[in-house]
Point group: D2
Chain length 297, copies 4
């Protein structure tokens, strides 16, 4: 299969179950909302080593938000319900409540259950907190230095999909990188997904386990390293490929992840120097979802 | 004391000891270095609830970096040596190694001691890693998907200063917010300091303990809340003040923090509608450093 | 009339006829498209002194553009058909053709007529140019240094509306400025309009003619200057107003301008410290359109 | 000659005399200063078709500006003294005076002579204008809607250098583009120069005259077009080159342009896939300056 002359490999992305919340941060201006959203979703690339997987989902204009102010929707994900509960509490309490002019609303559809995040945060008000209703939502108003911080009482979470992915194999590093950038541009328009890695792009891949050092659970995936393609017999890198980047996608459901993979791959294939699209899997035994690249188109 | 018609209160900022590392992230372009620096310093406002205090210190042009590429200097801070060691490992491993085209160097002067961060990360290379020397620095080269990731073997840390601060009291919220923004602009030019809160600005203040709820260690500082100034007898907010923001500064030493406070306050006082500059302290019993506002000028 | 406690004056904006073109600039990435769009719409605040009124209308995702790449829609306006023809030629030729990886398409609906902009630009190809069809559009392909520049053969123009406007009167300068910023955020979501002034905001207002210097056709509107409110008897500035900013809107038709005024005013009224919304007119004798503020809501 | 494995051709850039002014725009915040600087330097790539060549030179922190506010230094250039006079007047009057919170100062050293730009603009004040002195500078204060606009009375201009340049020849388009981006990053740190094209990069090159169409004075330089390298016998593009971008530099003097070329080339040579650095000249008969690439290192 080819798109725009780029070979789409007949393989699949192996994705995993995770738990996700989806929050709307509003602020006085778009710029202020983005400041809070960026801080709250940092240090959130992969739960292998980060306390959560987190990212900005999409911009929401003032006409669509509960308080008529511009906002950004973010997603925060963790396999553990308990850890996700804690991450919501800390990321809202430390990175959004402390940010200028913000408010936070729950915008997850069809939640499995809800966390009492806002309910818990209200005690920070030390008795001065208040309760409001905005568009049928129960909101806590907490007096802080610069005014009142509004936070929804409950935040939903649901079983979601983590680790949707595809690999961009290109002539050289910069062609691969530019293709990764426009893939992220395209995915930005899909609602219900995030690309949690830095700038949405992944420069390193890992395999389960480690051959040389027994104490490590994960190590570099030498078969996918461009600088090792001459040295590793089982390399999966074509001779003409000099740049490889991965896009990793977390989404509220499999459909959202599939749509993001589809649009991201289509965008990557518009870039000169892209040769092949591949996907990452672990033989199919680890993850719950198998997303075939050829089925997307 | 007055600057530009703004009253500078005769008080002091109470600051604390912390341990800090200072890292240089370089990348192929300035933009790519910033992407990695932003991810690696996110979720890092205060160790009250975040795993570290972290922020971007300054830009370093290609003429000054070890590898001739543009870069950003970041700082990562934690009171615990063990926690700081772990934060360096995870933030570099998850947020910089995974980011496109990056390398990481140690740029802390006069360290108390060093962490073996790069040495530990090299095992991710599963035997394919290599060792280089760049400008007298011992560097590990780890093959990753898109090329080789370079990381210095050791990263210094030293006793540093956290919680340098000042409060901007303004006519209304937007005047205070704009003054906070330009204060951060001014502090951006000072080497050796970060403003770890979102956009460098703090919208909420806390006090130790909680009067209404015994189970809380910290709660809103009601004396500094603009929306409570009519309700709280001991309010520290003047009648004509409607907007209060704090700037919090962590620095490699007291001198750097003082210089940042000085330039930040001077910049804030250029903004129309700023009425008073104050500072936060806890009576002087908690922190190691007392920085008198009047001594700065 | 009041919105969110802000007085909406019972007055109207006086707007003018102008001729407008609407172009889509696509590029390999969103960032590259924005670079070209920014250069091509600069020096374009008002035809009083600039060669055109120009601005970015909206972002268009890869799924919606003719070539599957991300893009920005811009508008270029001038009262004179001849001048508009020339501005299109020069701004495309000098600022878009010269920008990395761009292509340009006509996206004006219901044009009055078309300019042969692409047809004229093709001669730059010196015989090496080619002709393509993309989605029914006639496209010229011009070889340039870094590849082939694609430009649509014809670009429509139509009678449009310039000078839609409203004034934000606030407690002080920073409250007014922040309200202007969020008004521009809100208008960014309306298709078919631009806010051509710097950052979309206007800091200075003019009146026709000049009392003190006969040789000037236009001069500061002293009745709307905050720093003159004590000195000018006929001031239109309330005693409690310390900051005034104007939003000026050009749009493809009156409906688009009205919608932008409506959403911009609604957004401005969410900002603390905004006291009054006014509008600018010249007694109704100069402009073709009278847009009553009260009719918008 | 080679840098980092990249061939530096033994050739020269042919540069031209031009007249230049250098202005400092300050504003309440760095962000607001940049908004004005961007609008004022737009539509300013080349005087072949734009009314001026213009760009942002460098950021100036609050500690260094006459009014203690952050600012951006811009340059505006034109071969004609009369046209430059007019461009200063219009770009300041339409794009800076109208921008929120700005002031403008003259920061050109060793001017040949001065324009009365501020003196002329003051009449816009209609008798309400005032005169101040700031750090020995004569300043006009003009009441505008949102406050008082400060502009220096006189702005120097001097003979400067336009068209300093080099070409980046790379494996493919994206490698060339990334190298162009980091070259611009490096040049950003050199004081006294601008890169006036979109994002600092030039995607199209021209030759004097046109072979196929007599009515054109300039046309595409077919010898430097990657898509024509198989068709044009005298092509200057190596077989292995697939991406070519040019950096064009205007500077206050030859030394500044040389330093910018040196640092830009050094930065470009750090990017994987860059094969050759070349320079543009017209046989040496048109321009006043010949800058040999090999002399830079």
């Amino acid at each position: 299969m080819e798109i725009n002359g780029v070979e789409i490999k007949d393989t699949y992305a192996e994705a995993f179950g995770i738990k996700a919340s989806r929050l709307l941060i509003t602020a006085t201006t778009e710029r202020l909302a983005k400041i809070a959203a960026t801080e709250a979703t940092g240090y959130g690339t992969s739960v292998i080593g980060c306390p959560a997987e987190a990212g900005i989902d999409s911009y929401m204009p003032p006409t669509e938000t509960p308080d008529g102010r511009p906002g950004y929707v973010i997603m925060i994900c963790n396999p553990s319900k308990k850890d996700l509960d804690n991450e919501l509490l800390e990321r809202i309490g430390m990175c959004i409540l402390t940010a200028p002019t913000t408010a936070v609303f729950d915008v997850l559809e069809d939640p499995d259950d809800k966390f009492k995040t806002g309910f818990k945060l209200k005690f920070f008000g030390d008795g001065y907190e208040d309760e409001l209703e905005i568009q049928g939502r129960k909101i806590h108003s907490i007096p802080i230095m610069s005014g009142d911080f509004l936070v929804e009482s409950l935040f939903g979470y649901k079983k979601a999909v983590a680790g949707g992915n595809f690999f961009i194999m290109a002539e050289n590093k910069m062609a691969g990188l530019t293709a990764a950038e426009v893939a992220v541009d395209a995915i930005d328009d899909i609602s219900g997904v995030i690309t949690p890695f830095p700038g949405g792009m992944v420069a390193s891949g890992s395999k389960v386990g480690c051959n040389s050092y027994e104490f490590l659970n994960a190590s570099t995936n030498e078969k996918m390293c461009v600088s090792l393609k001459e040295k590793v017999a089982e390399t999966q890198i074509r001779k003409d490929v000099g740049g490889v980047f991965e896009i990793v996608i977390d989404g509220v459901d499999e459909e959202a992840v599939k749509e993001a993979m589809k649009q991201g791959i289509a965008a990557a294939c518009t870039v000169e120097g892209v040769l092949e699209i591949n996907a990452g899997n672990f033989g199919g035994d680890l993850g719950e979802y198998k997303i075939q690249l050829h089925d997307l188109f």
